[in-house]
């Protein structure tokens, strides 16, 4: 079974893409059949992923299965298409197919009655296919193709309700912001192709070993990191992710929390050998990751929209993962990616459940007391929040712990402090959300809320269960099985430290307690805090005015540039073109007199040409031969 599936892992993306084609071409009139087909295809992909994971983890650690075929062959350029299957791939395949399957099932309930269900499932299938293709790619070129494909799917799904102005804008914003990052990524790919003549990960890794010219590798690595910055919404290019919440909530869960945004992290992990060869790049990654984590967590504190809080939380956690990558704790980063995928999608799906129950209400201050109406949603949400906050023994605890441990072990004290503080903030804003939305006093809108159908609750329960146990795979209880397989020679894998475990648990509990005090017991008035720290609050509430800065920059820089270019276009480019046109017209005006409409004149011209040729030929013969 493994012998067949492993070389044929391309079947995993193929099945959803077939579903996409069938739905898009034939079945779009029958939404139920489309949904069933899509879910069926992702289920098959899930089973195949399970088989592959089984195959990979039953083999000795470090086994890499690579299958490749020549796609383009010309002098100086060989492009391959291929599969690269190792533990990293297997984990990603599992995460993606699991979350995708659950999200698609959940969508049955969430999207009920939407007129665009067929196209929704078509996009979902296409996204699943692209994401899986990205995961199994064995070279950067192929990865880039799927990288762009997931971007397209993200664009389509963010703008799924394209009737909404904000959804359209959000889709365009996401797309354009990603262009900036992808441009750097593409440049890096070209540089690598030129420098090493290959894009294959294995071959690149081999040639990296003997490569000493680090000065040129620094910009390449940083350019390569531009892709993850865009895709994983790291600091300067993070602006699209919160807006991406305009899409359907299951989409946010799948694409903008669990899988696609993690692709950047995955890329860093995949190309870890490049980054780890360049310490400067590693520092950049770590700093950007850490800054993003802190930055987003502080914003999350003040947001009122349930999905936006989760979005900033996602940003923060992605920053966490990046920080882990940057400090060399690759395993920890990947581990956090995996656990985060589960509990964050759980949180999003829970938020979706709330939104459905509240009839499209997303403001947490208009909710309250939902725990009585929606017990399953409430409890699974709390489990997700606890996991996110890092309460043992839930999954988030283990992965976050490892990152903090890695930071400390690699000597990045500053990053450790940031990480710990972010953990505190995380617990604070998550439980702020929970206390306000689920336990606060009943608000008018929450009166009629009631638990959703099993289609939506069962995926929540499953994800909650996974969130609880997923962390154990890398816990001392299971002898760090995850790290054992993922571990790469370049990574730093410290041994767990009890002190850090306890301290981080305490920090998380402190955050929860503070939230409890402020929002549940209201010992400290939230309003008071708001007034006392009004300046900070405003900055945070307006997300550090990043969007405004970008808008200002756009208005000044881009528009100013555009004005210059417009002038250039009108007077220089157009002037040139017009000059050509005038010259042509004047030439025509002059030459038209040769066209006197009389056939003999034309015959005269023709024979003049012939005689001219003859005379010149004769002259040539005369000069050359005589």
């Amino acid at each position: 079974m493994f012998e067949f599936i492993l070389p044929n892992a391309w079947l995993i993306p193929l099945v959803p893409v077939l579903a996409f084609a069938l739905i898009g071409l034939f079945l779009h009139r029958w939404p139920k059949i489309s949904a069933a087909l899509s879910i069926f295809s992702i289920a098959i992909a899930f089973i195949l992923a399970l088989v592959i994971a089984g195959g990979v983890f039953s083999a000795p650690a470090g086994t890499v299965y690579e299958f490749s075929t020549r796609w383009l062959d010309m002098p100086g350029l060989q492009v391959d298409m291929g599969l690269l299957i190792d533990a990293l791939t297997a984990v990603m395949l599992l995460v993606v197919t699991t979350v995708a399957l659950l999200v698609q099932i959940y969508s049955l309930g969430y999207m009920k009655g939407d007129p665009g269900i067929a196209s929704y499932y078509a996009y979902q299938s296409l996204f699943a296919a692209s994401m899986l293709g990205l995961v199994i790619a064995n070279n950067l070129g192929q990865m880039f193709v799927f990288w762009e494909l997931v971007g397209i799917c993200s664009y389509l799904l963010i703008g799924f309700w394209f009737g909404k102005y904000s959804a359209r804008n959000a889709a365009i914003k996401a797309f354009i912001t990603n262009r900036v990052g992808d441009f750097g990524f593409l440049l890096a790919i070209l540089f690598l192709q030129i420098m090493f003549g290959t894009l294959n990960f294995g071959e690149l890794s081999d040639s990296m070993a003997g490569f000493t010219n680090m000065t040129i590798l620094i910009p390449v690595a940083i350019l390569l990191f531009c892709g993850p910055i865009g895709k994983s919404a790291q600091f300067p290019l993070h602006v699209w992710l919160p807006d991406a919440m305009e899409g359907p909530t299951p989409v946010s869960a799948l694409i903008h929390a669990a899988t696609m945004v993690a692709a950047g992290v995955y890329l860093v992990a995949r190309a870890f050998f490049i980054f780890s060869a360049v310490p400067q790049a590693m520092t950049v990654i770590a700093v950007i990751g850490g800054f993003t984590a802190l930055f987003a967590a502080t914003i999350a504190l003040t947001q009122n929209d349930i999905k936006r809080i989760l979005a900033y939380s996602t940003l923060s956690q992605l920053g966490y993962m990046m920080m882990a990558m940057g400090i060399g704790a690759m395993t920890a980063g990947m581990f956090h990616l995996m656990t985060h995928a589960f509990f964050k999608s759980l949180l999003f799906l829970g938020a979706g459940s709330v939104i459905v129950a509240m009839h499209e209400e997303q403001d947490i201050w208009k909710m309250g007391g939902l725990y009585k109406k929606m017990p399953i949603t409430t409890w699974t949400f709390i489990i997700g929040a606890l996991a996110l906050s890092g309460i043992p023994p839930l999954s988030g605890f283990w992965s976050k712990d490892e990152i903090l441990l890695g930071a400390l072990a690699s000597g990045h004290i500053g990053l450790y402090i940031i990480g710990a503080f972010v953990a505190f903030l995380t617990a604070l804003y998550m439980f702020r959300l929970i206390f306000v939305a689920f336990f606060g006093s009943n608000k008018a809108g929450a009166e009629k809320a009631q638990e959703n159908s099993a289609v939506m609750t069962v995926p929540l329960i499953i994800l909650a269960a996974i969130s609880v146990v997923a962390g154990l795979v890398n816990s001392p209880l299971m002898h760090n099985a995850f790290g054992h397989y993922i571990n790469s020679p370049a990574g730093i894998e410290p041994h767990p430290s009890l002190i850090i475990m306890i301290s981080s648990t305490v920090i998380a509990l402190a955050g929860i307690a503070m939230a409890w005090l402020i929002y549940q017991k209201q010992v400290i008035s939230a309003e008071d805090l708001k007034y006392r720290f009004e300046g900070i609050y405003k900055v945070l509430y307006h997300k550090y005015y990043i969007d405004e800065i970008y808008a200002w920059l756009g208005a000044r820089l881009v528009d100013g540039m555009a004005k210059v270019l417009y002038w250039f276009d009108i007077y220089v480019v157009n002037g040139f073109i017009n000059a050509i046109a005038y010259v042509t017209a004047i030439t025509g005006e002059v030459l038209k007199f040769t066209e006197d409409g009389q056939v003999q004149t034309y015959a005269l011209y023709m024979f003049a040409g012939i005689v001219l040729l003859l005379v010149s030929a004769l002259y040539a013969v005369y000069t050359v031969l005589i």
């Binding site: 038209k592 007199f593 066209e595 006197d596 409409g597 009389q598 056939v599 003999q600 015959a603 005269l604 024979f607």
Partner: protein
């Protein structure tokens, strides 16, 4: 002693006379006749070269027959055109036909 050169010179003379006629005559039919002269000059060259350079072959003659065939077709169509134009414009003077002037 008459050789190939003289035949070719004869062809040249006839061709040039025909060319001058084409370029200088006013009457469309005269132009057509001059074109026939030019074609004849070409045929003289074909046959003469065939006779002097590849005497055991008749390809030159063959091609001159093709030229004659084309000339016949050309004359038929050309004259039909001239008659057609004459019917519309009551003239065969080429100087009157300058509708395509600038």
């Amino acid at each position: 002693m008459i050789g190939l050169t003289h035949y070719l010179l004869l062809g040249t003379v006839v061709f040039c006379i025909g060319l001058f006629g084409v370029l200088s005559k006013r009457n469309a039919i005269a132009v057509l006749m001059s074109v026939e002269l030019m074609l004849n000059a070409v045929n003289i060259n074909f046959v003469a070269i065939n006779k002097f350079i590849t005497p055991n072959d008749v390809t030159g003659q063959l091609f001159s027959i093709f030229v004659i065939v084309v000339a016949a077709a050309e004359v038929a169509v050309g004259l039909a055109l001239i008659i057609s134009i004459y019917r519309h414009r009551k003239s065969v003077d080429l100087n009157d036909f300058n509708l395509l002037k600038w």
